[in-house]
């Protein structure tokens, strides 16, 4: 019988035979595995389990201008191969984040993709202004798609013009060298239309997908499980939706870098998103069940790419769109 303590001296990912560099709209990350917004706080907690600098980047929980208490509990319901959450963007606000969290990520060698969320175009613009010039900022992710709002009209990502307004404002107030990523909702009729609007407004890349709006009832109380009534569905259950969204957007906009997320808990899941068109992959809900998941997924993805004969990650991005092409031909 033998037991291993995984967190101690976990093997570093060194696979020189596969170039893992990932393009993120002007930024190049050393590898394509990221955390997902809302699933890694601001990195500190996960750093107890692995070195956050090993990841391509840490994507922070969405930051707002002011402190936010979030929604009442219960905030979580486990569902088949997934979960619903209705956290409601609880967080300390941008001031605290700039003073404590971003410097910590920078000091620990992590590349930070800072997710921002606001209730108006002006709030998003102000957040972008506050972030400008902050050390350690690798990219800004614009969360225009959080489903936990009382009024669906407030989900910017449901409207091409609202998405465009927010993304345009953030792009204008962000340093030109820092990519702006728009995070999109799958809960729309035509995700390509929204994607196009964001890119036309200046988005350097897109993050696909945010959670799907869902709901569960407690069959003992016969009432909604969640304090917020509805919540965002995530986990392996949504992976096919992510693959579909990434596929559609990559087919329409093949030159736009995509960060794929939705149900990734293994390297093969990550590979599926890459083959569909993602240049990088976020590990989100899987972290709740396995805090070491991001570095494990990176190891497994590296092996999966090597096993299939890919010399680089770039070769694999969107590979599934190139029918008939065998590896080694080009």
């Amino acid at each position: 019988m033998s037991f291993t303590v995984r967190t101690v001296d976990a093997p570093r990912v060194t696979q020189p035979d596969c170039d893992l560099a990932a393009d993120l709209g002007g930024q190049t990350l050393p590898n394509p595995v990221l955390t997902a917004s809302g699933c890694a706080a601001a990195g500190r907690e996960l750093h107890q389990f692995f070195d956050v600098a090993e990841l391509g980047a840490v994507v922070t929980k969405s930051i707002m201008l002011e402190p936010r208490s979030g929604r009442p509990t219960p905030r979580m319901a486990e569902t088949p191969s997934g979960m619903l959450n209705s956290i409601g963007l609880q967080g300390p606000g941008i001031g605290h984040f700039l003073e404590h969290d971003l410097p910590w990520l920078h000091e620990h060698g992590a590349r930070a993709v800072v997710s921002i969320a606001g209730g108006s175009v002006e709030e998003f613009a102000e957040l972008a202004r506050r972030l400008r010039g902050a050390p350690g900022l690798a990219a800004v992710e614009v969360n225009i798609s959080c489903p936990n709002v009382a009024d669906r009209g407030l989900v910017f990502a449901c409207s091409p013009s609202a998405s465009s307004d927010v993304v345009g404002a953030v792009r204008r107030h962000t340093a030109p060298s820092v990519p702006v990523l728009a995070k999109l909702s799958p809960d729309v009729t035509d995700i390509v239309e929204i994607a196009r609007a964001c890119v036309d407004a200046g988005a350097d890349g897109l993050s696909l997908i945010n959670t799907l709006l869902g709901m569960a009832l407690d069959l003992d109380t016969m009432r909604p499980v969640l304090g917020g009534v509805t919540g965002g569905l995530s986990g392996p259950a949504v992976k096919p939706v992510a693959v579909r969204c990434i596929w559609q957007v990559h087919a329409a906009l093949p030159d736009v870098p995509l960060v794929g997320m939705g149900g990734v808990r293994s390297g093969l899941d990550a590979l599926e998103l890459v083959l569909a068109g993602a240049s990088a992959v976020s590990v989100g809900t899987a972290v709740f069940g396995d805090p070491g998941a991001p570095v494990r997924v990176l190891r497994e993805l590296t092996r999966a790419l090597t096993d299939r004969g890919f010399g680089s990650l770039r070769e694999a991005v969107g590979h599934a769109h190139r029918p008939g092409q065998l590896l080694g031909e080009s």
């Binding site: 995984r6 967190t7 208490s69 509990t73 219960p74 959450n85 956290i87 972290v287 709740f288 069940g289």
Partner: protein, 296 residues
């Protein structure tokens, strides 16, 4: 602070079930979890993956540590008490020895021990919520504290650890709602008399939220500090998911929605806004000014 933080840095360990035993309505599991037992202190908890590697149950289940032994034939072990509430706990209860289980721990802030070695501590457990109190009782004994127990449950089969308590405590009071053993009623029916007899200096409690509210209020009314370990539902147990929050008053007198996994599970009883658990009180830091708020 930094020393203790280093000591209790949680580990993720590939462990396995060493033994599983039915105790009344519960299951007492012994887990081989090297590294975790050595770091565990009374009040810490562990978070277990359930259902096997390809399980559709993707979230961890959190359990207070009942006992931990740093050394053993198979390495360090931690023991937990499982009450079957759903598919995940049912899976755990049904597993035989040698089933691999991924364990994360030790997690959370443990109980604080009284500075005064001769203090009289009263330990109150509801159902299998009593589990972390026996390790605590041992630690209190080592400090020369007097320990008294109050254990309550709905029925006799839902009491946990009455024999342990009798072995360790100066006195033990038992209550059951149905009267199947001990005094018919709830823990707070017998607590005032026991506290008077024991000359209680501090109350420690673990159990359902309603019991903690009542115990904390009773202690506060007598000017006696209480430490309550809460049982909030959690998705991760490590502080990233923000689901296990409850309203707690800070040193500055302001209410915040606080994570019970990292800032708890043990809280001073007089800091938790028990009546407001499940809500966001309007004066909470960052509480919504208007009804429409959103985001995850």
């Amino acid at each position: 602070m930094s020393d203790s933080a280093t000591q209790t840095r949680p580990l993720q360990v590939s462990g396995e079930i060493l033994a599983s035993r039915r105790v009344g309505a519960y299951h007492h599991l012994t887990l081989v979890a090297p590294g975790i037992a050595e770091r565990a202190r009374p009040g810490h908890f562990v978070a277990l993956a359930v259902g096997g590697e390809r399980s559709g149950m993707i979230l961890r289940r959190a359990f207070s540590i009942y006992q931990s032994r740093a050394t053993g034939v198979y390495g360090g072990t931690v023991e937990i008490v499982v009450g079957v509430h759903g598919a995940g706990t049912r899976w755990l209860a049904e597993q035989h020895p040698h089933t691999p289980v991924d364990v994360v721990g030790p997690l959370g802030k443990p109980f604080s021990l009284p500075r005064d070695g001769g203090a009289s501590a009263t330990l109150v457990g509801g159902g299998y919520g009593s589990a972390p109190l026996f390790g605590l009782a041992e630690a209190l004994h080592k400090r020369g504290c007097r320990v008294d127990f109050v254990l309550g449950a709905a029925s006799a089969d839902r009491l946990f650890g009455a024999l342990d308590a009798k072995r360790m405590a100066a006195t033990v009071a038992v209550t059951t709602v149905d009267g199947s053993t001990g005094t018919r009623g709830v823990v707070t029916d017998v607590l005032p008399e026991l506290m008077a007899r024991a000359g209680t200096d501090v109350v420690y409690a673990c159990g359902p939220m309603g019991m903690l509210r009542a115990v904390s209020r009773l202690a506060a009314a007598q000017g006696i500090p209480s430490q309550c370990a809460v049982e909030e539902s959690m998705a991760c147990g490590i502080g990233v998911c923000m689901t296990c929050v409850l309203p707690v008053v800070g040193d500055d007198g302001r209410t915040r929605m606080v994570r019970s996994c990292v800032e708890g599970p043990v809280f001073p009883g007089d800091r938790v806004r028990w009546d407001d658990v499940g809500t966001v009180p309007p004066e909470t830091v960052g509480a919504p000014a208007a009804a429409a708020t959103g985001g995850h």
